[in-house]
């Protein structure tokens, strides 16, 4: 991968070609968040037909040695572009590229939205948000999800994110996708995951409709400022599928610990009720439980992938190995979810 100076030079060259003006790059900073795409913040100054411009921007790179490599920037860019101006708060995207000649990696550039990303990982027994903050955030969190799922993707470039997926095949496609990744990444067999795959295949729900699915919708993947959600981030796993998949992901134990609040934001019954009111999509609790188990399986596969990536020496990031350490806990959570013990 490129070092900081090389990223700055490549950014200046790329933006000069896009804007037709000399561009000054400053304040390049690599963020520690995320385990897959690499995120840089920077400031760019240039001149266009409206006069001098100064923008705070984000560059995201999908490294060729990363967890899900080879990456494509199109799904994230197209989703953010399509949702611009909708009820879903998203950063404005400017440019993207799949070719490797600019940054040696697929990339996109978007605005830097103000706010902090609260994390779901707090000490046991603690809550991530005080009640006065939690309730309004929960309402915005559910409303943005309903807006994502209500987005009319047909006839837009987003059709390419799930060609041919139907209500009856949405769950199967996801199981197959993640099962194949597990086969690719495992370096030892996991009988409990084998059993989980059989269970998932035998209990696939039929989707109430095909929606745009964020794929990693949770606390930690939105920005918040003064009690307002300013942006929904991390669209790396976006696809077309069953909207209840996102609901199951929100309910996972990994993002709430022992808190009664899903993603530390909202009680399960209230989440179902409010989501149904806002989206008009009926919530079948059995389908959500299915997707909670599936999501935990998916997260376990990601942990296996992280450990594999580290073992092969493709990614030297020690945090990948640290993820792998917690695989047993996740595998137990899959079984617990299936048995209704979470």
């Amino acid at each position: 991968m490129l070092d900081g100076d090389a990223v700055t030079r490549s950014l200046a060259g790329f933006l000069r070609r896009q804007t037709g003006s000399d561009v000054a790059i400053g304040g390049l900073r690599r963020y520690t968040v995320g385990f897959s795409w690499i995120t840089y913040g920077f400031e760019a100054t240039w001149r266009d037909s409206t006069g001098p411009r100064h923008e705070k921007l984000i560059l995201r790179l999908g490294p060729p040695t990363g967890l899900f490599a080879p990456y494509r920037a199109f799904p994230q860019f197209a989703s953010l572009k399509a949702l611009e101006g909708s009820a879903v708060p998203v950063p404005r995207v400017y440019w993207y590229g799949e070719e490797l000649d600019t940054f040696a990696a697929p990339f996109f550039i978007c605005e830097k939205v103000e706010g902090e990303a609260p994390l779901p990982w707090v000490s046991e027994g603690q809550e991530a948000f005080p009640p006065a903050t939690r309730e309004p955030l929960a309402e915005q969190f559910v409303a943005a999800l309903a807006a994502i799922h209500g987005f009319q993707w047909r006839g837009t470039p987003l059709e390419r994110l799930g060609a041919g997926v139907e209500e009856s095949s949405a769950a199967s496609r996801e199981i197959t996708f993640w099962e194949e990744l597990l086969d690719r990444w495992s370096f030892r067999p996991y009988p409990m995951l084998e059993w989980a795959i059989s269970w998932l295949k035998a209990h696939r729900p039929v989707a109430p409709r095909i929606s745009l699915v964020h794929g990693d919708y949770r606390t930690g993947n939105f920005l918040e400022k003064s009690g307002r959600i300013t942006a929904i981030l991390d669209w790396e796993l976006v696809h077309l599928g069953d909207p209840l998949e996102d609901l199951g992901w929100i309910c996972m134990r990994s993002f709430r610990g022992r808190s009664p609040y899903m993603c530390h934001l909202i009680e399960r019954s209230r989440l179902y009720e409010r989501y149904q009111e806002l989206s008009g999509i009926p919530v079948d609790p059995r389908a959500v439980t299915f997707y909670e188990a599936f999501g935990t399986f998916k997260l376990a596969v990601i942990h296996v992938g992280a450990a594999r990536c580290f073992e092969d020496g493709r990614f030297k990031d020690l945090r990948m190995a640290a993820l792998g350490v917690h695989l047993p806990r996740l595998i137990m959570q899959i079984e617990g979810t299936i048995e209704g013990k979470t």
Binding site: P189, P191, M192, S198, F310, K316, P328
Partner: protein
């Protein structure tokens, strides 16, 4: 643990050498970090995964496989052929027991796939009984692993503080 011990040592040593130590500005803290590095390089050739739990795993797998054999005796279609490892040889190192554990786990995966595919052809409840036996053994192992695992530092890892 998911990664190999050798790779974990190499990764920690590399992270200290290439990322952590160059960023430490305080001399005293940097000398401590070099002390850690020195210790790690000397520990690496002297340690291996604890043999006891691995030994227990394989013993329990072999007991389970004997039970599966009893449950699948004279059943058609026949279950996957049993594993070559029928007993745990004495005086093995962790590095030798680990692949044996994995071979036995692979066999258990094959049995699970076979039971699932032939559920309706097996005597009533037999597939479920086999699955339950395998899950019980695996759950006991996972519980032990979770007990040994320190609470995750995902927040600190994500924020870098």
């Amino acid at each position: 643990m998911t990664n190999s011990l050798e790779r974990i040592f190499d990764g920690i040593i590399d992270a200290l050498q290439s990322s952590v130590i160059p960023a430490i500005e305080d001399e005293s803290a940097r000398s401590q970090a070099y002390g850690v590095l020195d210790m790690l390089r000397n520990l690496k050739p002297r340690v291996e995964w604890s043999l006891g739990p691995l030994h227990d795993d394989v013993s329990q797998q072999l007991t389970l496989i004997a039970r599966i054999a009893a449950l699948t005796e004279r059943v058609t279609p026949a279950p996957p052929a049993g594993p070559v490892d029928a007993a745990l040889p004495p005086r093995l190192t962790s590095a030798e027991v680990e692949p044996m554990r994995d071979r036995l786990d692979e066999y258990l995966c094959e049995v699970l796939r076979w039971a699932d595919e032939n559920r309706s052809r097996l005597p009533d409840g037999r597939a479920e009984e086999i699955e339950a036996a395998i899950r019980d053994q695996q759950r006991a192992r996972l519980r032990r692993e979770v007990k040994l695992t320190a609470p995750p530092l995902f927040g600190e890892i994500s924020r870098g503080q």
